[in-house]
Symmetry: C3
Subunit: 280 residues, 3 copies
Amino acid sequence: MKIETIIRLLQEVRERNPLVHNITNTVVTNFTANGLLALGASPVMAYAKEEVADMAKIAGALVLNIGTLNETEVEAMMIAGKSANKHGVPVVFDPVGAGATPYRTQTARKLLKELKISIIRGNAGEIANVIGESWEVKGVDAGEGVGDVVTLAKTAAKQLDCLVVITGKDDVVSNGEQTVLIENGHPILTKVTGTGCLLTSVIGAFASVSIDLMAASISALVYYGTAAEIAAEKTAHHGPGSFQVEFLNQLATVTVEDLMERGKINRAEKALNFWERDLS
Amino acid sequence: MKIETIIRLLQEVRERNPLVHNITNTVVTNFTANGLLALGASPVMAYAKEEVADMAKIAGALVLNIGTLNETEVEAMMIAGKSANKHGVPVVFDPVGAGATPYRTQTARKLLKELKISIIRGNAGEIANVIGESWEVKGVDAGEGVGDVVTLAKTAAKQLDCLVVITGKDDVVSNGEQTVLIENGHPILTKVTGTGCLLTSVIGAFASVSIDLMAASISALVYYGTAAEIAAEKTAHHGPGSFQVEFLNQLATVTVEDLMERGKINRAEKALNFWERDLS
Amino acid sequence: MKIETIIRLLQEVRERNPLVHNITNTVVTNFTANGLLALGASPVMAYAKEEVADMAKIAGALVLNIGTLNETEVEAMMIAGKSANKHGVPVVFDPVGAGATPYRTQTARKLLKELKISIIRGNAGEIANVIGESWEVKGVDAGEGVGDVVTLAKTAAKQLDCLVVITGKDDVVSNGEQTVLIENGHPILTKVTGTGCLLTSVIGAFASVSIDLMAASISALVYYGTAAEIAAEKTAHHGPGSFQVEFLNQLATVTVEDLMERGKINRAEKALNFWERDLS
């Protein structure tokens, strides 16, 4: 994928201000809304079963996040998801904490079974638990570790029949056939709550302007990771409070030049014998 | 209205620390509480039907916001509102997203019908939808646009029998007879989630120290817009993250001199043939 | 207690990254999670009755906070608390607003009655209301005021059979026999919402690495107050927005040297005839 594609999609999001309907957890609502606003998207949170079908159908993307799930909310997710499916609105799913409790794992699987999910984003442990693989998160480094996450992403994409985004030290995107590695980002992201959840919503925003879900996901990851890198360089020595503030600034102000200079999209492990897209 | 009235009311809020009971949406709770604390008010969020009547009756103002409404919360709003009405506590209402889904529009109308609302604050689209006018938000500029929003505010005030505050590029306050325009504020407010919701709660704080609801609303708008202008001048070039932090700073530290220097209260469109209050 | 104990416990939290399960109010979820991450703990919020028992049993501590309680959440607290009790996980309780409404007071008492609470943290008014004493908060100064809060803490500790932490101008920790005063902190903490709630969760993090609950609580208070002092010195003249950001920075970066230089643990009022622990 060419960096020009990423730049074009970012510009489309900033110009079109797509409505992103989030049913997300109570910890990250504010940060998610501010991050989407900084990107140029138009966030809305709506949870009532009386209105989620109406909201989802006018949205550019629907984002479901089970971070603080309960039965009422899951019911709303199901109604919203079916409405999105019916009206061709992409559904992006974040299985927060899948594997931590049986309830989360089962709910994640139920949503994946009953809805047509376009993209799932989680860390390796969450994705592995969703597809029933026992997984010990080993850390993703440029060496041997990468192969495992790449395999996991491919396996999950085939099994779930959707695009899979696994984030960690490096990020992996796979549709089951093609798999791409994005090396942008910064470790201090793990010291601010909701950076994974916001990323899922940002992927939703990009998915709302591109029917090519892989291009949308890669673009979101490069944009997000680049903003994080710049923010970290400016503030990480101060601490996570300053980083969070500057990260929101960068999500709003990151430039085309920043993306061209820093975007790091790599072909995944050659030894795994699959072919990448038009990586330039 | 004289700027001295605004200054006096701000000082009263800062000295009396009125309790403002908020039943608001999950996206803005933290920002609302921090904004009210910065102002000098004492925020409380209480949602359970078992306690909202008790909390509302001891509050200086009750603020109802349907940003992430559900049936349980609407029931609590009704109980709290009736308690506030009974005990003479002003009720300020923010019909977030009215018009976006039928559920929101109907709920907004139900609350307005069954409760005595003192002040309603929304954008032009929300207010228009609440009173059943088809409204295409045109943007409020100093020229032709203003007339329409002024007319809308007056119409809504008469129909709803309450004070109406419509915010946008400029802000309009109307009680149906008198209509005032406030030109403070800054566009970057639209890049931070909850700035409208917090303003509604700030109006509540001012309403708790003044039975003159128009004076309270104008004071809140001038104070709020002035703080935003100063914060934007200091930080807007950095981005919305820095602006939000500085805006909270300014809500706490904005001075009498700032208000005297920057307060912009203007008579509304003369051609509409109504008389303003003692605008100096 | 020696400052070395505090330092050791802080290092243990930072190294072990204990999982702290919070069932807390909607206003402070984000700030609580970010504060715990800054400390080095691993926060999780889980509220559904279907999963709280599973989550509580794998946690290092369970924190219950009734800031925006409702019946569903109280039911979840009860299930989580019983699971924590069964599995030896310490339960830390924050009775936010006890005394403000009968519902809060009754719920606080019910939780204290039916669960084994390890530590309760509140302000003087909340603790007094929980144990049924009429209490007019008088302010805690180094002179006469202190005696009353110390007595209150001791009385509450005996009556509730748990460790009591009362925070205010100074902070008091009592197990009924031993009572200690901590004089760290800064008044601007009261201008940021959730600083009390986050402290309760921080106490939970320390309690997860120390079976000596008094050592854990004192350590948490000194660490937290020291971070606040440094942050206030750097930013308080700007306002509460800047303070909050810097406070998160300091929670992440406060050093052993900072604690040794600033830690202020004092023996409580001598006239009350009790003996402190090994205060050095």
